[in-house]
Amino acid sequence: MEIGIEPFEFMQCVSILKSTGKFAKNLGELRTLISESGDESIFHHTHQYFIKGLILEYTNDFAEWAGATLEERALAERLSCIDPYILKSVSEVRKKLIREIDGFLADFPEPRDVLTGNEFYLNETVSLVFPVGVTAENLEELLIIVEHIDKSSIYYHFFDSRFRLGEGVVDDFSRWIEHGLGKQYLAEKIRAIDPFVHSIESIRTHIIEVIEAHLRTKKDGTSH
């Protein structure tokens, strides 16, 4: 390892669901819920949606409920297009959600109630973050660890980082590869993996493919 480069420390994040006890049975109530809820709840239902690890039709819980339960697919599509990671803060996400719902309500002013039991339940999480106990000092080690590490660790470094590190930072892997290892081209390849259309396992596969391809070209003497 080059002198001065900090090793990449793998962390893990486990979240326990906490109920707020609040719920909405129609779109108007959902709007109120979103406007009055704490940041922790908005964060959970948007940013943390990806921890589920399943590729579903929509990209946050509000959109999922609008589409699957309210059966308002046009609204679900609009809500799904909100990227929580490019917005500056949770309150920006909240504003954007409300704007989309208001736009929809302006055209369809009489929201109907869902059947009892299908309401939207507002939650938040309490998260435990801890080191996994493994570090990578170079690209080869990073590759081996990414292949075997728990998926909640991939979530932490690929998704959670986008919020944790603030504007402009995408994921921990590419940040370390660029600033620690000085491999900008490879970092950009990892940043190009679209977080919205892959499951966590498929993101793992893509990261592995990109690093393996890089290591192969390096071996062939065509490294960037």
């Binding site: 326990i16 906490k18 109920s19 006890g21 690890g53 998926k151």
Partner: protein
């Protein structure tokens, strides 16, 4: 013991259990419920307590005692909390408290953390030792989303005294001031007799013992004979399917010592099934775990067509065995069955029949959904995840008000 889960449970869960056990080393963790056998709670506790002991937690499991008046009353409250209309008198509620008071004198309630399971022992909170700063949690395993209000109001008097309430599904939570409410789904143990791998010989032995021929597809529902599990609805679904596809149905269940209604429902189901040789109704002792495992493994499709449900762990049991599943859209079943991905959620007997026919006629789809189901259970519904969550809640209780804690 916990090491046996390596390679089966997600590594991350095992790692967090190890880290939390270091923090909580030697501390005492008392669980109290109302039956040693029968039903999902007793089953989980019988597996969880040895594992907690193995990781250095001083875990204990106590069971409250009661007579038939007490359990008839708690069964009625169970039904009423799940939405039935029942009649109660003040005398009954007083007796419920009295029995708990009597139990409080016999049980050692001192522990660093206490987890009280379900309504039967809920009043024990009134006898919480005041000498130590300990954590008392109430764990609700049943669907209390639409309870008979007066019953919930009476029970709430006790529940609101707890530090933490734990529900299986978000919509069961109650928004009680001063009580932290968490959502922790229950789990299955992949290494128990009910879920471990079986040899073909073990499966054949069970099918021969119960007289179940393996010459046509088997549809199975495993559950207590309880009206909320809708055994009659399952027979109706089977009868519809039978018009299109030859198949057989197994309804298998066991009695629980805290459920006095089981026998009456069983008689009703037998009468409704009539003289159809392809319907097998099996009443088994509660410790027939390997037999249930074999029945699930020999089946082609597994149902849990409940109309009310706490969580419906038989769904996860079936998914763990890579079986295509169909479940009622109630309680925790939709959390386990991601519709169209890990199984199908249905709303009627006719809907269940339609999905059974789809599976029977699309074996490739059935196989794919079964495989996806197993991975989903691995990541979400194994015992190690539940132990992880309980220990996390215990540890988190020291950081009230914080949403992110570094270990």
């Amino acid at each position: 013991m916990i090491k046996q889960y390596s390679g089966i449970s997600p590594n991350g869960d095992l790692l967090l259990i190890q880290k939390l056990s270091e923090k909580l080393q030697g501390k005492s963790f008392l669980h109290i419920n109302s039956t040693r056998e029968g039903g999902g709670v007793a089953e989980i506790l019988s597996r969880m307590i040895p594992l907690l002991l193995d990781i250095g937690i001083d875990a204990r499991w106590e069971v409250i005692e009661g007579d038939s008046d007490f359990f008839n009353f708690t069964k009625k409250t169970h039904n009423a909390l799940q939405g039935d209309k029942e009649k109660f008198t003040k005398k009954m509620w007083d007796y419920y408290y009295e029995v708990n008071k009597r139990n409080s004198k016999k049980l050692d309630l001192s522990a660093d953390a206490v987890l009280i399971h379900d309504p039967q022992p809920a009043p024990l909170i009134g006898f919480r030792p005041r000498s130590k700063k300990n954590l008392w949690m109430w764990r609700c395993h049943i669907d209390v989303s639409r309870p008979m209000e007066s019953v919930w109001t009476n029970l709430k008097k006790y529940v609101k005294q707890y530090d933490t309430a734990i529900f299986s599904v978000s919509k069961f939570a109650k928004s009680m001031p001063k009580v932290d409410e968490f959502i922790v789904t229950p789990s299955i143990d992949p290494l128990s007799d009910k879920n471990r791998e079986l040899t073909e010989d073990e499966i054949n032995e069970v099918s021969e013992r119960f007289g179940i021929p393996r010459d046509k597809p088997i549809i199975l529902q495993v559950s207590r004979f309880d009206k909320f599990k809708d055994p009659i609805g399952v027979i109706n679904a089977y009868k519809i399917v039978k018009k299109y596809n030859d198949c057989q149905l197994i309804l298998a269940g066991s009695p629980a010592s805290d459920d006095p209604e089981g026998e009456a429902i069983l008689d009703e189901v037998k009468e409704y099934a009539g003289a159809d040789d392809d319907i097998h109704i099996l009443m088994m002792p509660p410790d027939y775990h390997k037999e249930v495992n074999a029945l699930q493994r020999m089946s082609d499709i597994i149902l849990q067509k409940s109309i009310k449900e706490g969580f419906g762990l038989t769904v996860s049991e079936a998914m763990w065995k890579e079986k295509p599943v169909i479940g009622g859209a109630v309680g925790g079943i939709p959390l386990q069955i991601v519709h169209g991905v890990t199984g199908f959620v249905v709303y009627s007997s006719e809907g269940a029949a339609f999905r059974i026919r789809q599976y029977l006629n699309n074996p490739e789809m059935a196989r794919r959904m079964g495989q996806q189901g197993k991975e989903y259970v691995r990541n979400n519904f194994l015992l190690t995840r539940q132990i992880r969550d309980y220990l996390s809640l215990w540890y988190l209780s020291k950081f009230k008000g914080k949403n992110m804690i570094e270990l």
